[in-house]
Structure formats: structure tokens, C-alpha cells
Amino acid sequence: MRRVAVIGAGYTKFGEHWNKSLRQLSTEAGALALEDAKLEGKDIQALYIGNMSSGHFIGQEHVAALAADQSGLTPIPATRVEAACASSALAFRQAVLSIMSGKHDIVIAAGAEKMTDITGASALSTLMGAGDQEWESSIGLTFAGLYALMAQRHMKDYGTTREQMAMVSVNNHKNGSLNPLAQHPFEITVEKVLNSSLIADPLRLLDCSPITDGAAAVVLVSEELAKRFENPIWVLGSGQASDTLALHNRNSMTEMLSTKVAAKIAYGEAKLKPENIDVVEVHDCFSINEIIAIEDLGFCEKGQGGKFVEDNKIARDGERPVNTTGGLKSIGHPVGATGIRQIIDIVKQLRGTYGSLQINGAKTGLALNIGGSGATAAVHILGREY
């Protein structure tokens, strides 16, 4: 199969961009990626964009054509991919497949979401479009509620503690304090998490990723072209899987089958094991999800995720650095942009030139992006060499 490499990457400042629209954010991220790749717009042969719910957030569908239009990239094929909060990891994957297929050689993959033009309550309701509207949203469940259900059961079955969940947020904020593009680039304490307001028991405000505007983009090229670029980062594995939309239809609430299946495929393609991964990005939309993800990705035994966090193994200088640039919690979570933002942070770590954010010697990285309460999961493994 034809190999694919990332040769350009960039994301906008994440935050509340009351002065910038979705079209401006997308264009800005695209320009960052192109500049990074030292390419011109005319070099790009296709565009993929992940976006969850522009229809609700800004009343606009058809955002791939919009992004191509605003970036002066028409008439190239422009395709929007949606899978709730996993939209842009899937857009990335389609870009990879389109190059593997031989149809294209240079493709831009982006993700963008503009969430702050509507009220917070309305944004929460919009996000529940990722769950089952007939059987979950309809009874008053929220996204925090779904992850709270997982947390309660994880605590019951494995003795995971409230404090361990808080430590996830503390770690990610500590890392995010180094990241100038993060929405909340400051440190917090376990105490602060435990004293923040309850959202859905046992989850508190500081267990939850924020509502964010932002965009991210990468440029991908085929094996043959990659050699012409400085420091290409290779896509070693791409796994994607689905599960039931409603949480209640799954046998287990403390693991995600979709993550496990996607990870197995990605590890298989990359010919790597969990212990070979140097830097990790996981989907910490809620603190409990980072614990579940660490387990499902095989970095520790099932049920030991809380302990793994408590033992500081996820720290930047720990055994398995996780969310080294702040995660969804500190950087922010523009839902359609997060998947590619994660991949960009892996790419920058693997290049070895990430300044104060650099984890020294990182040669392989993994990014896990999750849609909804786990009905979609995508795992990408990248490497400096193949």
C-alpha cells in the first residue's frame, strides 16, 4: 500500500473568537498548514474538512465547499466528514485513503467548529445531536451525563477515585499552561477541581472540556512526494470503529469497544505495541474518558487507569506522556477541529522542534479521537520513520 506523510500542520488559537467566523477560522488554519509546508494553494488537489454541527451552530451546511471557496482552492474536490466529536480524525483518514487510492498526491485535511455564536444551553443541546435523540436526549441526558454514567460505574467496579479524575484535569492544565494556543493556559489544582460546581454527579465543571471556537489543518502527501519535504511525519496506522449510538445498548460502560477495535487495527498496521508509543493524545472531553482511554489503548490493565494517572505516569516526564500540550480540557474542544488538532500536536512532537512543548526523543505518537459517547473512535499512529 502507498504510504502517506504529513508535511504541513497548524492550528489557530483556540477560544471564544467573537470576532471570527467559521469561514475565517478555517481559512486561517489552512493558511498555517500551507505555510508550514511551504506550499501554495494551487498545489492542493483535494480538501477534507471535519465539522460536527455547523447547521446548528451557525446555520450553515456544505462547509467543505465554503472552505475551498474562502481559501481560493476551488475547483478541487471538497468533502465534509461528520462523526460528532470525531469528525476531523475521520476527515484526516479520508485524506489518507484518498492518497493511498492513487487519486490524489497532495491533500489538505482540516477540522473546524464555531460554537460560541449561540448560547451555552443551546450549544449543550446541539452537542447532544451526537447521542441518540430518540432515546437519550429525549429524557434529558446531556453529554456530561453520559460520561457521568460511565464514571459512576468505573468508580464502583474498579475503585477509581474522584481525586484520580481530578488529576487528569490537573495534568492537562499543567501541560496546557505551556501552550500559547490553548483556551485556558493556566494550572489548576485537585482541590480546585473538587470545589468546582457539579455538572452531572460525579463530574464537576473542571472535569469538562469547554465550549470553543477553533480550526486545525494538515497537509498530507504521498510517499513519492514526501521525500522532497523536510521532516515528513509518517502515518503508520489508521484504525476506525463504530459502536451503538446509545450508551445503554452496550454491554460495558467502562470500556469502549470502538476504541479497542480501532487501536488494534492501528497497532497492527504500524507493527507497534502500546509500549512502543512515545507520546499520546487522548480524547479527554471529560476527565473519566482519559482514564478509560488509557486502559482501552493498552497502556495499563483494565481498571488501572486511575492509578496510572495518580502515579503520574501520564506526565510530560512520566512513563507515557499523555496530552502533552493541554488536551481538550486546557486547549479547548471545538468539536469538529479536535481530531486534527491532536494529530498536529503529535506531528510537532515527532518533528522534535516543538520548543518548550517538546517531549525529547519522541519517535512515535498515537492520537485517539472519540465521537459522542464512543459510537465512533479513530486511532492514528504516526512516526518519524517507517
Partner: protein, 134 residues
């Protein structure tokens, strides 16, 4: 907002939402709630019939919603749980009554209550909730 209620939607789901009527594959005896049109295990060989659930079950997990989505603001705090129905499938539902009495593995039974009001359409939505059985 995404949770969109419409008259045809409620009509389609009325047996399920009002009376806990699901389905059962009589080929393999698996039961489905929400009602499934076909059995994912038996597929074309499956034979689906209506099936009445008793509404009795057990709490698998629960949470207290304190920040509600649109339409549910005035009901906070309220308990949402995943219930294991005795006949063999799971469902999400609210648990009414004393919040402090809710625990994982407690027994519940179903009751018929108001769920929410739809301000856009002036509709009041009713459906199944649960209460703890002492």
C-alpha cells in the same frame, strides 16, 4: 436545538414511549428496547414480534443532572439512569423520588410521567420514568 420532537416522531414511538412495548426475535429469543425492526444476530432469518416489558429492573448506573439541556432547565436537579430491564435489555430513563435513595443495583419499576414541555409547539411530552422499589 437537536432534540427535535414532532408529531410523527411521537406517533411512531408511542407504543414504546408510553407503554414500554419493544420487540423480540422469536428465532433467538433476544428482546429489544428500543424496538428493533430486525434482529442483528439472525438478520434475514430473524422473526420480529411486539413484546411487552414489565418495567421492572435494576439500576446499572445513574447520575444527577444539574446543568440541563434546553427544555429541561426547570427540572434540575434530576436523576438519569441506565436501567437493566428484567426481560433482558437496557434503557436510559429518569428516576423520580428522593435523589439520595438512588444507588447502583437498586430495583426500580416504571411509572408514567410528564417528561418535558416543548415551548415551540406547545406540546407536553409524557413517557416512562422509574422509581426505586424499597
Amino acid at each position: 436545538m437537536p432534540y427535535k420532537s414532532s408529531v410523527p416522531l411521537f406517533w411512531r414511538l408511542k407504543d414504546a414511549k408510553y407503554s414500554l412495548v419493544g420487540t423480540k426475535c422469536i428465532t433467538c429469543n433476544q428482546v429489544f428496547f428500543p424496538p428493533a425492526d430486525f434482529c442483528p444476530q439472525c438478520r434475514r432469518k430473524g422473526k420480529i414480534e411486539k413484546f411487552q416489558f414489565s418495567g421492572n429492573g435494576e439500576v446499572v448506573s445513574y447520575t444527577v443532572i444539574r446543568v440541563a439541556p434546553e427544555g429541561f432547565e426547570k427540572y434540575v436537579p434530576y436523576v438519569v439512569a441506565i436501567i437493566q430491564l428484567d426481560e433482558g435489555t437496557r434503557i436510559s430513563g429518569q428516576i423520580i423520588g428522593d435523589i439520595n435513595k438512588v444507588e447502583i443495583e437498586k430495583r426500580v419499576k416504571s411509572v408514567f410521567r410528564r417528561i418535558t414541555e416543548d415551548n415551540d409547539q406547545g406540546l407536553i411530552h409524557y413517557g416512562i420514568k422509574f422509581e426505586i422499589v424499597d
